[in-house]
């Protein structure tokens, strides 16, 4: 995917179809080309444990089952250099001049299913992955034990090609480890190791397996049963992770020392082979896809869904759906379920032929629009079409109603349906009409901060009663004018609060909140108003305690604001009277 333009129901996708250099229609997979190819490269499918040729079938189940030529590895068709595969191909299906093809498709919806990458344990040097031959990853183990693997299913260890008798598995390598920036559980590793232990017990009953773990997370259907079967089959589970691996240089055997936290004893064990049960990481293409489809990511780096409970397969960008690992680590069953759900959601959308747009969208008054274009770049959904010298236009089907454009518009040309500027101004005036000095004025975003306030309330948390909360759909809806108006009306303290970065319900709208806040602090300082009177906080729906704590801090701050400061702000921030425009003299009318 090179480019995606448009919006729900009307996407235009530009796809680059890479050149195969072998005609898949003609190729009958005879393999003569691969036999004669002189190039040998590490086979990616076999995790580099064996080699492949420059012309090869990527993996046995590939569809179409025809050869491809990797031009980066190929010596070329220069007869002096090589050209041997083309010579032996009787069907003449090799074409060195094949070119990438760029295809354009009109699509109504997009399903993102870009999968995952596996954690590279090189950085965890204590496990010696790059130093010891007999330390392998769980992916390499899969290839070694597989009948279609590099050893043809003969299970041997890398150092001496002998069958290992004592195998140690180390769990959570690259998972649940905040120190290396991977605090999340990879979800699949525990069950994968349990499966491997059962596989070993079945094929090689004399092999002793020991699993070092933090917690075994066997929470799916029949998973606990599998775990029990693994233990019954003789696999030893030690609760505790080894801190180090040492190798015997003569035998290449590995010694692990770990504290068994169940018994409280330090255990030293020798193994023939150690398998690092590596976690999963977001696919390397996430950033590109994220930018193409304006998707946001969670703090773990996976794509964020529109709503974790109500829209778990929908992206915040309408018409885009997720399936599999790109949204969060999950096993095959959950991935298949999500793929089915994503296909259903996309199918329902296409079958309906029409969509119901959000009630809260922005509206542009073409007459008031000054064609400045400030609104277009701040829209996280790309829902505003604007070209230099032209009036901006809202694509209502793509608009999610964050109100960011309304806050950015300097000419009051944008109105947010149901959350208009006039309504907000009326709320500000009404709240601060009486005893404004005693109030903390709070703008809270609908999805997180306002819910955080609710959480504080339903949890019966105590906090000062001085706050007055005004709900906005997004913190980015709060315009500079709204904050200044609150100060003009005598607010001692104004707090703007919204979702945490990773939780923003409008992709990345709250980044504009930060930019506006910076400008406002500068403006306040310039006007001689203490900038500390304007505060910013990210409060999630679950952070009722944080909401209560912030309210206490705001109340403390309010008490420090003097009557003089409030009066000065009201005066200093008052809008300057507009200079009367010089009336143009009427042009002389010719008789």
């Amino acid at each position: 995917m090179e480019h995606v333009a448009g919006y729900i129901g009307n996407f235009t996708a530009t796809i680059r179809k890479k050149a195969r250099y072998v005609d898949p229609e003609m190729c009958n997979s005879c393999g003569e080309c691969a036999k004669i190819c002189p190039v040998a490269k590490p086979d990616e499918y076999q995790m580099g444990l064996s080699t492949r040729k420059a012309v090869y079938i990527p993996y046995p189940q590939a569809v179409p089952c025809s050869y491809i030529l990797n031009m980066d590895d190929c010596l070329g068709n220069n007869p002096i250099a090589c050209g041997k595969c083309a010579e032996v191909c009787e069907k003449e299906c090799i074409n060195y001049d094949d070119q990438d093809e760029v295809i354009t498709r009109e699509v109504g919806s997009v399903i993102v299913a870009i999968g995952l990458d596996v954690y590279d344990p090189t950085e965890m040097d204590e496990y010696g992955y790059t130093r010891f031959d007999n330390v392998i990853t769980s992916m390499e183990f899969e290839r070694l034990i597989c009948a279609g693997g590099p050893t043809g299913g003969h299970f041997v260890r890398p150092s001496d090609q002998q069958r290992p008798k004592r195998i140690g598995f180390i769990q959570c390598v690259g998972s649940r480890n905040p120190e290396i920036g991977r605090p999340y559980c990879s979800n699949i590793c525990c069950m994968n190791t349990i499966k491997d232990s059962l596989l070993l017990a079945d094929h090689y009953p004399d092999v002793e397996c020991t699993v070092y773990y933090q917690d075994i997370r066997a929470f799916g259907k029949s998973f606990e049963d599998m775990f029990q079967r693994s233990k019954e089959a003789g696999t030893r589970y030690v609760r505790g992770l080894p801190g180090d691996i040492a190798e015997d240089p003569e035998t290449s055997n590995l010694t692990l020392v770990a504290e068994n936290t169940t018994s409280g004893k330090l255990e030293r064990r020798e193994f023939d082979l150690v398998v690092l049960s590596v976690g999963v990481v977001p696919a390397k293409d996430m950033a590109k896809i994220s930018s193409l489809l304006t998707l946001s990511k969670t703090s773990d780096g996976f794509f964020m869904e529109s709503h974790p409970k109500l829209k778990p397969v929908d992206a915040p960008t309408r018409g885009v759906f997720f399936a599999g690992f790109c949204e969060a680590p999950k096993d095959i069953k959950d991935s298949v379920c999500q793929a089915g759900a994503a296909a259903s959601r996309a199918g329902a959308l296409l079958n309906a032929g029409k969509i119901q747009i959000e009630a809260i969208t922005s509206m542009i008054d073409a007459e008031a629009c000054t064609k400045c274009g400030l609104c277009a770049p701040v829209c996280p959904y790309g829902a505003i079409k604007w070209q230099k010298g032209e009036v901006a236009v809202v694509i209502e089907a793509a608009c999610a109603g964050c109100g960011n454009c309304g806050a950015a518009c300097k000419s009051d040309a944008i109105t947010m349906r149901h959350f208009t500027d006039a309504q907000y101004m009326a709320q500000i005036h009404a709240i601060l009409a009486e005893d404004s000095r005693d109030k903390v004025f709070v703008f809270a975003c609908n999805w997180c901060s306002y819910s955080g306030a609710d959480m504080a309330g339903i949890s019966r948390m105590q906090y000062p009663a001085s706050n007055r909360v005004v709900r906005t759909m997004c913190s980015a809806r709060v315009s500079e004018e709204m904050v200044l108006e609150a100060f003009r009306c005598g607010a001692p303290v104004v707090l703007v609060s919204g979702c945490h970065y990773a939780d923003c319900h409008y992709i990345s709208a709250n980044r504009q909140t930060v930019k506006r806040q910076q400008r406002l602090w500068n403006k306040l300082e310039k006007a001689g108003v203490r900038p500390e009177r304007l505060q910013l906080e990210w409060i999630s729906a679950a952070e009722g305690r944080k909401f209560a704590k912030v309210m206490e801090q705001m109340e403390e701050l309010r008490r420090t604001v003097t009557e003089e400061e409030i009066k000065h702000a009201m005066k200093a921030l008052a809008p300057k009277p507009e200079k009367p425009k010089k009336e143009k003299e009427p042009a002389a009318v010719a008789d």
């Binding site: 970065y501 990773a502 806040q517 910076q518 500390e532 304007l534 505060q535 906080e537 990210w538 701050l557």
Partner: protein, 53 residues
Amino acid sequence: MAKTETFKCMMCGHEYQEPVEPGEDKERSCPKCRSNSIRHLKSRPLEGSADGG
């Protein structure tokens, strides 16, 4: 290349310096009081200390 920038917490007044990567998208909070009211002081020198806190 990362540039060292100066920030000020608008809640507790703590000023500190932090390396900022170009195009960095990071939620900021005060290292002292955890408040999110973090003002970017651009290239303004740090008050009181040479290396920040």
